[in-house]
Structure formats: structure tokens, C-alpha cells
């Protein structure tokens, strides 16, 4: 009898226990029996038995309160140390930068959060007249440019509020830079709902930009990918035509990047606290 002859024969009860364990992916805090039963639409008894089994196996532990369940150190036993578990955002994104360049013909940039701004760490430049790489190491604040707004929008509300407080007054770069905190919050909602940020000429004028997030397990940004071209060649109408193809690539990318937790965080120096 081959393995495939046995397909379909699985232990349903254990699949359910494993599904309980899987709910810890992206969860930032411990969970209780009632909460879990409501979340998975299973009885409290079933939730309790699944949690107890996972504790016995070392995959969960009771937290300091003694009544809730937290991921356990037994998780370290189901890893293959030969596999590279470290996420390198530049290596990961490189093929997607190439694909976005191929479908748009324009320059594509990869940017990551550093401190209270972002820096561009990789790019694929278009030929001829093109939007060029930011000067190496140039730190762009997180409220100006579409890459900034994408990175900012997928941080937590607390971090965004923290940024606005520390960066105030928000610096103006062009006539369209968002400097009013209320307008910035509206933009955050828009970016979160549509999944990308458009350029408003709010950092550099005379170019058309669109930025997409590279998201982690919890929906936080690993990085932002920006496609940009000269405004007379890459018009807003062109962006609309290209958007479905770009979104498809971005969706595929995010289905893979979401395997990893991001290290992106606005960093404040001690003197800022």
C-alpha cells in the first residue's frame, strides 16, 4: 500500500488540536478557554482538552496568571536547524522587485524603517529617463512620500501616535506634504483599506509613485516597495491600468513574507521617552 492509497485517512481530533495550536500564529498574547471556544466555535470542554493536550506536549504553557495559555518552549523542538529561519528582507524581495519592474518598466525601490524614518536598501532602475535611487543613507521621515505612509500605516495605532507626537511639527517638503495630524490619520485609514499608498508629490514632485507593504505574520511592515516613474510617462491612468497586475504580485509576495515576524519598529532614543 503506498502513501497516496492512505490519503484521506487522518486523525480528525488531532487536526483540531493542531488547529488550536495554529491560532497562536500572529497572536500577541495568551488565550483562555472561553476566549478560544468562542473564537473557534467549539465547546469549552473541547477547547480545554485541546489546550491541556498541547500543554502536556510542551507546545503551550500556562502563563503567570495560571489560567491562560501561552506558546511553550516545546516549539523549539519542531524546527530544523539546517533550514535558514532568518528572514533577509532584501534577498526575499529581490525577485519581486524584478517582477514589478518587468510589468511596469519603471524603477522599483525597497525601503525599510530606520529610527523615525525609512532608508532605501535596494532598487531596480528603469532605463533612460527615470526616477532614480534616493541618495544612499538618506533618511526620509515617515509622513512624507508614499513609502513612508505605507510603512507608517501598517504600524500599530500607538506607534503612529508616538511618531506624530515625537515628529511634531510634521516637516513640509512640498506644497502637498501632509503636515496636519488629522489628515495623516485619514491617510492611514485609506492606505490600510486599499492596501497601498499613492504619491501626491509630497516628498518629490514631477514623478508618479505607488507604494505597497511587505507584511509580516501580524500585518506589520517588513518593508515598502515603491514603483516610480516620470510623471509625463507614468500617468495616474497608467497606474490604474497596471494596478491589478502589481496587486497580484504583491499578494503573492505577502503570502510568503507573512511567514515571518517583522523587526520594524519606530525607535526612539531614551531622551525621547
Amino acid at each position: 500500500m503506498t502513501f497516496d492509497d492512505q490519503r484521506g485517512q487522518f486523525n480528525k481530533a488531532t487536526v483540531q488540536i493542531l488547529q488550536v495550536l495554529s491560532t497562536y500564529i500572529g497572536r500577541s498574547s495568551s488565550v483562555g478557554v472561553t476566549e478560544l471556544s468562542q473564537e473557534l466555535h467549539i465547546s469549552k470542554n473541547m477547547a480545554y482538552r485541546a489546550l491541556s493536550t498541547l500543554v502536556k506536549e510542551g507546545f503551550l504553557v500556562k502563563d503567570a496568571s495560571g489560567s491562560r495559555y501561552e506558546l511553550g518552549f516545546g516549539i523549539l523542538r519542531i524546527q530544523n536547524l539546517d533550514a535558514d529561519t532568518q528572514f533577509d528582507v532584501r534577498t526575499f524581495c529581490a525577485p519581486f522587485l524584478q517582477r514589478l519592474h518587468k510589468v511596469t518598466g519603471e524603477s522599483v525601490f525597497l525601503s525599510v524603517i530606520m529610527g523615525r524614518g525609512y532608508v532605501t536598501i535596494d532598487s531596480v532602475e528603469a532605463h533612460g529617463v527615470r526616477v532614480s535611487h534616493n541618495p544612499r543613507g538618506l533618511l526620509v521621515p515617515l509622513h512624507a512620500s508614499p513609502a513612508s505612509r505605507v510603512l507608517l500605516s501598517f504600524l500599530s495605532d500607538e506607534e503612529i501616535a508616538e511618531y506624530i507626537r515625537v515628529a511634531a511639527p510634521l516637516k513640509r517638503f512640498t506644497a502637498t506634504t501632509i503636515t496636519d495630524p488629522n489628515d495623516l490619520w485619514q491617510e492611514v485609514e485609506l492606505v490600510r483599506s486599499q492596501g497601498f499608498a499613492r504619491g501626491y508629490g509630497d516628498h518629490y514632485a514631477n514623478a508618479t509613485y505607488i507604494s505597497f507593504p511587505v507584511l509580516d505574520t501580524t500585518g506589520r511592515p517588513h518593508a515598502a516597495i515603491t514603483v516610480g516613474g516620470p510623471a509625463d510617462r507614468l500617468t495616474e491612468a497608467d497606474v490604474e491600468k497596471l494596478l491589478p497586475g502589481m496587486m497580484q504580485i504583491v499578494a503573492e509576495m505577502n503570502s510568503q513574507s507573512s511567514l515571518y515576524t517583522s523587526d520594524s519598529r519606530i525607535t526612539l532614543e531614551p531622551s525621547d521617552i
Binding site: Q6, N11, E70, L71, F73, I78, N80, L81, T217
Partner: protein
């Protein structure tokens, strides 16, 4: 949904995690002493839940996405991991060497993050590896800043695994580390400098390890960088604490490389 029905399936999962090659039902059956049909059923169950995947469309299996994501979620439980990267980058810039973040779990330290150095030759272990506290620089940096009672309890737990002379040398090294604020280990195979990240009441939240030779002139810059990280962590004690500190270290048993 009983524990006994699940136990063999978790054993299969751990076996596949520990192996260095893809495993099929026959391998699992032989290694765990299970009937072949039971091994098939266990693999089907794990595949169904996405914990294992077929290796290159064969009938052999390797760990799947769910296992990888859970590991990342577990690392995410240590809040210091999200705060440390900019400071790790600074250490890389100062020294050119690979920098790792280790966190304490029971009587062990686990590597949960690393940033590769800029030097041509990089010598480091994988993320996820676990060491006994006294066997690497990070563990010793953590141990040096545990309370005297905890230190004694750990050293006592070593029992016959260390000689009286080795224990004395370890105690002296820990006292020096506490005074200096760092640990260095240099032998024929490696050179490491580790600085503890200290949270509320100077409790060790982890340790950063620079995995290469650090010039004497750069040590103060490294101490200052990690000091700033500790300062940030101390400012938010509710966020930066070890979620597993309430567990009895004697009850935490992990496979080590050290």
C-alpha cells in the same frame, strides 16, 4: 479528542523537526516503532494541518509553513527582539562582525535573532539553537546578572557535569563579568564578546553576542550601545519582561548544541 490519540502524532512531528533529511512513512514507522498504517495516518494528519509538507512532490516529508510560523511567533514572545535590531545593526557597523540576540529560557539561552556581519568570513550558529547557560558567552552574560541564589541553584544543578576546578573558574568568570559588564570567550575555534541586556531591577532579558574579535578600542562603544538598549527596556517594564520567568527552570528541558 484524547491525549493518547494525539501523542504519537506529536512524536512524528518532533522526529521530522529533528531530522536532517525528508522522512517517509517507512522511516517514521521504523524510528518510532509504529505500525506502518499508523505512521501513514500520523503523516496524513500533520499534512492536513499544514505542519509538514511533501518534499519535492515525493512521499517524504519536511516541516511545513505552520511549524516555521509558530517558531517565529514563539520568538516574537520575547519583546526585546523587536527593540534590539537597530542596536544590533550599530554593533555590526562598529565591529563588522555578526551579532546575535540570545534570550534565557529556564537554564538555557536560545538564539532568536541574528544580523550578519560585513566581514568576508562569517561564523555563526542558526537561529533557534539552544545552549546551556555556562557553555557560551551569552549564557554566561545572562548567568552573571542573575541573583546569587539563582546562580548557586544553577551551578548546583550542574552536579557532576563540572569538576570542582571548573566550577571555581566559572564562579570567578561570572564575578568578573558582573564587574566588567561583559563576557569574552576566546579559544581556537571562536571569539565572542557578549553584553547582557538588562531590564527592570537589572534582571537579564537576554544578551547580545558579537561573534568575532572586538578591538579593545571598540568595547566601550559596544557597551554604550547595549546600555542604551537596556535603558529603553527598563523604561517599559510591563512590556519588556520574560514571559517564561514564572516557570521552574528545572522543568524546562531542551535539546542543546553546547
Amino acid at each position: 479528542m484524547t491525549t493518547s490519540s494525539a501523542a504519537y502524532i506529536f512524536n512524528i512531528l518532533r522526529l521530522i523537526g529533528a531530522e536532517h533529511r525528508p522522512l517517509g512513512a517507512t522511516d517514521v514507522s521504523q524510528r518510532l516503532g509504529l505500525p506502518l498504517t499508523t505512521a501513514h495516518r500520523g503523516l496524513s494528519t500533520l499534512e492536513r494541518a499544514n505542519y509538514i509538507v511533501r518534499y519535492q512532490s515525493s512521499t517524504k516529508f519536511v516541516l511545513g509553513d505552520m511549524s516555521r510560523q509558530l517558531l517565529q511567533s514563539f520568538f516574537g514572545r520575547f519583546a526585546i527582539r523587536s527593540l534590539a535590531p537597530p542596536y544590533m545593526h550599530r554593533l555590526v557597523m562598529v565591529t563588522g562582525e555578526t551579532v546575535s540576540l540570545f534570550v534565557p529560557i529556564g537554564w538555557y539561552v536560545a538564539r532568536i535573532s541574528l544580523i550578519k556581519g560585513t566581514n568576508e568570513i562569517i561564523r555563526t550558529g542558526p537561529v533557534g539553537e539552544v545552549w546551556d547557560l555556562h557553555r557560551n558567552a551569552a549564557g554566561q552574560a545572562v548567568l552573571a546578572f542573575k541573583t546569587e541564589i539563582e546562580q548557586k541553584r544553577y551551578l548546583d544543578s550542574l552536579g557532576n557535569r563540572t569538576s570542582r576546578v571548573e566550577r571555581k573558574a566559572l564562579e570567578t568568570g561570572l564575578a568578573e563579568a558582573r564587574t566588567n559588564g561583559y563576557v569574552t570567550i576566546t579559544d581556537d575555534t571562536k571569539s565572542e564578546l557578549s553584553i547582557p541586556v538588562l531590564g527592570h531591577h537589572n534582571a537579564p532579558l537576554g544578551a547580545l553576542v558579537i561573534e568575532g574579535k572586538v578591538a579593545a578600542r571598540d568595547v566601550n562603544a559596544c557597551l554604550s550601545t547595549v546600555g542604551r538598549l537596556s535603558e529603553l527596556a527598563r523604561a517599559e517594564p510591563a512590556r519588556f519582561h520574560n514571559l517564561y520567568d514564572h516557570l521552574d527552570p528545572e522543568h524546562v528541558v531542551l535539546p542543546t548544541v553546547g
